[in-house]
């Protein structure tokens, strides 16, 4: 049975259709979720897409975090549901305290869109297990507030626990501390990533196909989990 990935649309979500397309190309069934609906319709994983939810007025992600769908997602994520936040989705996950730290205004103060090289480091997550540690990938960034900040203790902990999922290489596009582009929570089911893997899934429209790995990862993780469950669970 194929896996069902939910993609949430908030007012002001922009890359929701693209996230859905990427999940579909990866082989998932896509379920569109509405911010105002607390019912997650039994999906196996959730993507919080990029965009400017609620115009990103006040702070990016600050208002979206209180959407009824988010309340359910926060609970489910604590229970292990795989959740990927891309760009605005990453900001929402930080605002919801599912991930540590915050995303602030790019240090050069401009919105920046470019094709960006990343090094995937943490491959033990639901969303990055299809990569090999150290693999270099090319994925578009496009954000105005993508500068990741956290206190030194948090940053040290992220590094020590292998929770930095990806780092910017060959140039940091926004001033993120320690070149952080993506992180995960302790359990590895929740990942926030500032660049846009959903825009690197087709040769015609993207700079590479490297983004697909994030979506195939979760299918692998889910398949592994259900195979494990069928086999009577993990040791």
């Amino acid at each position: 049975m194929s896996m069902r990935i939910g993609v949430v649309t908030f007012p002001g979500s922009l890359d929701d259709g693209d996230a859905a397309r990427a999940a579909r190309i990866a082989g998932a069934d896509v379920v569109r979720l509405w911010h105002g609906d607390p019912d997650l319709h039994g999906v196996d994983a959730v993507v919080l897409p990029g965009g400017f939810s609620y115009g990103d007025y006040l702070r990016c992600g600050a208002i979206a975090r209180f959407a009824p769908a988010m309340e359910s997602i926060i609970d489910a994520a604590r229970g292990g549901l795989p959740v990927l936040g891309i760009c605005n989705g990453f900001q929402i996950l930080c605002e919801a305290h599912l991930l540590p730290g915050a995303l602030t205004r790019n240090q050069h103060l401009h919105f920046r869109n470019r094709d960006q090289w990343l090094r995937v480091e943490g491959t033990n997550t639901a969303w990055s297990n299809a990569f090999t540690a150290g693999q270099e990938v090319l994925i578009p960034v496009k954000n105005g507030e993508g500068c990741y900040v956290a206190d030194e203790r948090t940053l040290d902990a992220l590094e020590a626990e292998g929770r930095v999922v990806a780092r910017y290489i060959r140039g940091n596009p926004n001033g993120s501390q320690r070149d952080i582009a993506a992180i995960t929570n302790e359990a590895g089911n929740v990942v926030g990533i500032m660049p846009h893997p959903e825009h690197a899934v087709e040769a015609l429209t993207g700079p590479s196909l490297d983004g697909l790995g994030f979506f195939t990862s979760v299918l692998r993780a889910l398949a592994g989990a259900s195979a494990g469950a069928n086999a009577g669970g993990h040791q």
Binding site: Y54, G55, Y57, L58, I63, F66, A67
Partner: protein
């Protein structure tokens, strides 16, 4: 040490999408007694020597506020002792 605080707010007749977005979000937090929210900028300027109000006004006028759509007010804060939450 003294600092000068410049508060920059949109002129009252100018649309404030930020404030509106916050006001619209409040009912979801269970808040229903707020009639309006306006969002502006607060800029704290620290001077090397004595706080220089005239200078601050000049900076505000030229750099901090956009006179087309914004007004500003200036205050001196002797080591800011506002009620900290």
């Amino acid at each position: 040490m003294a600092r000068v605080v410049v508060d920059v707010m949109l002129k009252p007749e100018i649309l404030d999408p930020q404030g509106q977005a916050v006001a619209n979000a409040l009912p979801r937090l269970g808040v229903d007694n707020v009639s309006s929210v306006r969002i502006g900028r607060r800029i704290e300027i620290e001077f090397a020597g004595a706080p220089d109000l005239d200078r601050a006004r000049e900076i505000a006028d030229k750099l901090l506020a956009n006179p087309v759509i914004e007004d500003f007010t200036i205050n001196v804060h002797e080591d800011a002792a506002a009620e900290v939450a």
